[in-house]
């Protein structure tokens, strides 16, 4: 539901990178979206397409990698198991924490610079 405001935040990062690298255009953007982030990739895509008009990312394609989530055991320190929170496979503790499922990360962008 708040995909548009997330995309507004994305474009702040993109503008920063345009200035940093003197990019003429951004041609691709790769996002990692956690499976539990509550973000719907299709809605994110529509918001991105609406927002990019008139920006240096106007021609950019959006690549979305949906990331699985892990649980990390806090009792035995670091055993990681995928999408199966019932109990730690190593020590049986239920004191596990979610890692990664809520991610919303701008992984990388592809930019073009015009030759002088």
């Amino acid at each position: 539901m708040h995909e548009l405001s997330l995309v507004a935040g994305l474009f702040e990062i993109l503008e920063e990178k345009v200035r940093e690298f003197g990019a003429a255009r951004i041609t691709a953007v790769t996002l990692r979206v956690g499976r539990l982030s509550g973000v719907v990739p299709e809605l994110l895509r529509s918001a991105f397409d609406a927002y990019k008009k008139g920006t240096r990312a106007e021609g950019a394609r959006l690549e979305i990698e949906v990331a699985p989530f892990d649980f990390r055991c806090r009792a035995c320190g670091g055993t990681v198991f995928r999408e199966e929170p019932a109990a730690c496979a190593a020590c049986g503790s239920k004191d596990v924490e979610l890692v990664g499922g809520m991610d919303l990360i701008v992984e990388k962008i592809e930019i073009e610079t015009d030759d002088p």
Binding site: M1, H2, S5, L6, G9, L10, I13, K17, F21, A24, T27, L31, L36, S37, G38, V39, P85, A86, A87, K94, D95, V96, E97, L98, G101, M102, D103, L104, I105, V106, E107, K108, I109, E110, I111, E112, T113, D114, D115
Partner: protein, 223 residues
């Protein structure tokens, strides 16, 4: 023209997380336990706060931040219980963000024990936004159905406490509190589960006692 890949590795919610970390630090400095309440609209967040206000009166000092899309109604209900309340109207936004809470924090008196933050009624979006709270509580009321944890996992996965509310209605409904708790615990085994009725008072003393203990634990961690 040259084309190249640039590694960015930046969190889209990075700014919110930084502000939330600042809030958490400030609350810890002041010795305040903040509790973020998440649920669908109508699960009984405000009624729960009213019932808690009555039970904490004379023992602890609390203040409330109310998040809604429109109106001052919830803050007025809390103030009628003799508790300081601030209303944040998001004007359409579906969740509270840390920067909204940070703005209110300057007005919150230093001499309080609990800051309850009632999020915008929505079981999806608020889960993604850290507000700097010490405890996150998700409410699931009996009329909503015991199948919700698996259908809306985000809120349950990120919470510390699950409150099954409106327990007084359970005899009238096909709602199995054990099933609701089991589904939620399958997503998040750390959840502490309470079954309460703000209206009739069932389970409310136990919940109030839990918050008082959590406050003591928070202050002990600070020392």
């Amino acid at each position: 023209m040259t084309r190249k890949d640039v590694l960015v590795r930046r969190d889209l919610l990075g700014t919110n997380k930084e502000i939330a970390a600042g809030i958490r630090k400030e609350l810890r400095r002041r010795g305040i336990l903040a509790v973020n309440l998440l649920s669908s609209p109508g699960s009984g967040k405000t009624a729960l706060l009213e019932a808690l206000a009555d039970r904490l009166k004379g023992r602890c000092r609390m203040a409330v931040v109310e998040g809604d899309i429109e109106t001052e109604r919830d803050a007025e209900r809390i103030r009628a219980r003799g508790v300081a309340a601030w209303q944040i109207t998001t004007g359409g936004a579906c969740h509270l963000e840390a920067k909204m809470v940070a703005k209110v924090l300057a007005d919150v008196p230093a001499a309080i024990d609990f800051l309850f933050i009632e999020n915008v009624g929505n079981l999806v979006c608020p889960a993604g936004f850290d507000l700097g709270e010490g405890l996150r509580c998700v409410l699931l009321s009996s009329p909503e159905g015991d199948d919700k944890p698996a259908k809306y996992p985000q809120a349950f996965a990120t919470a510390d406490v699950l409150l099954l509310t409106k327990s007084d209605l359970i005899p009238l409904l096909p709602f199995d509190p054990d099933r609701a708790a089991r589904e939620a615990l399958a997503i998040n085994p750390r959840l502490k589960v309470f079954c309460v009725s703000a209206l009739r008072g069932e389970g409310m003393d136990g919940l109030a006692a839990f918050f008082v203990e959590a406050l003591a634990a928070e202050r002990a961690a600070r020392a």
